[in-house]
Amino acid sequence: MRATVLVRPKAGILDPQGQAVESSLQHLGFAVDEARVGRLVDLEIDAADAADARAQIERMCEQLLANPLIESYEIELAEDA
């Protein structure tokens, strides 16, 4: 089953990378008020069903993919399984 994990800096956490991107976009003339930069992880996993996949990925996020102190995560499962 294919899945995508989106890892983001939590709201309120300073994101210097996002700020640099924001200011570069503004330099290019884009009317950008805020940019935040996170991370995307595409996964191909063995799972019995969507619930199993989600449970597995939750554990991956807690143990490795995200740092709960500063990052939030979102799991997207591919429709075609």
Partner: protein, 237 residues
């Protein structure tokens, strides 16, 4: 208890793929009277008689994902965690500090510098705790000059955790006024666990032990560790 002053306590310096300060750490510890042994990260156990562990600086596993996030799964880290759990002395320098926070052995986390620039210079740090095995050679409130060199040294904890550490004495080193090189909250440069036997710092004491390179203040930190390791090796098991 009598401790032979010439006893060279065994201190393990763990080497991960991408560590690059392990030889400097070994050299500095040897200079300060330890028997420093480099231990490859695939080892499941620490050498017999290990009285202290140093996780050195570098870029373990290329800093992939987050600094220290992969290294903490190295086989040797199980032994390091068990050693720390038994009260063993563990020091993490820079990348070693990052690994210890990722492993949950130290509070907080280390983020990209607020400036997004790699910083490499001497900084002044104030000793907030001089009663730990890592700072016993320091005077109370002393200011040490030790170099930093990192891109992700911005220590972060939320307000609640920071307040808790301020009260419990977990903050060991703080950048002096105007010296914070990375935007760390509370100007924190080094923290210890509740037991005081695990300590991590961003500055590199191993690069400040020889007058040829400027400051020798790093010897106060590493020398304290050697003293404490010598004492603990003298305890009959």
């Amino acid at each position: 208890m009598t401790v032979a002053p010439d006893l060279r306590p065994r201190i393990a310096v763990v080497v991960f793929p991408g560590s690059n300060d392990d030889r400097d750490a070994q050299l500095a510890l040897e200079l300060l009277g330890a028997e420093a042994v480099r231990v490859w990260h695939t080892e499941g156990e620490l050498p017999i008689g290990t009285a202290g562990v140093v996780l050195p600086g570098g870029f373990s596993y290329g800093d992939y994902l987050r600094c220290g996030a992969i290294a903490r799964f190295s086989p040797v880290m199980g032994a390091v965690a068990a050693f720390a759990g038994d009260g063993g002395l563990v020091l993490g320098i820079c990348n070693g500090f990052q690994i210890l926070t990722e492993a949950g052995l130290l509070p907080g986390t280390l983020r990209p510098n607020e400036s997004l620039s790699f910083v490499c210079r001497d900084v002044a740090v104030r000793v907030e705790r001089h009663d730990l095995p890592f700072t016993s050679r320091c005077r109370a409130g002393a200011t040490l000059t030790i170099p930093v060199k990192h891109g992700e040294g911005c220590w972060f904890a939320n307000g609640e955790l920071l307040a808790e550490l301020e009260v419990s004495g977990g903050i060991v080193l703080r950048y002096a006024a105007g010296e914070n090189p990375n935007g760390a909250v509370g100007d924190v440069a080094g923290v210890a666990n509740a037991g005081g036997n695990v300590f991590g710092l961003m500055p590199h004491p191993e690069h400040a032990v020889d007058p040829l390179l400027g400051s020798t203040d790093g010897a106060l930190v590493l020398g304290s560790l050697v003293d404490a390791a010598r004492l603990s090796s003298a305890v009959p098991v």
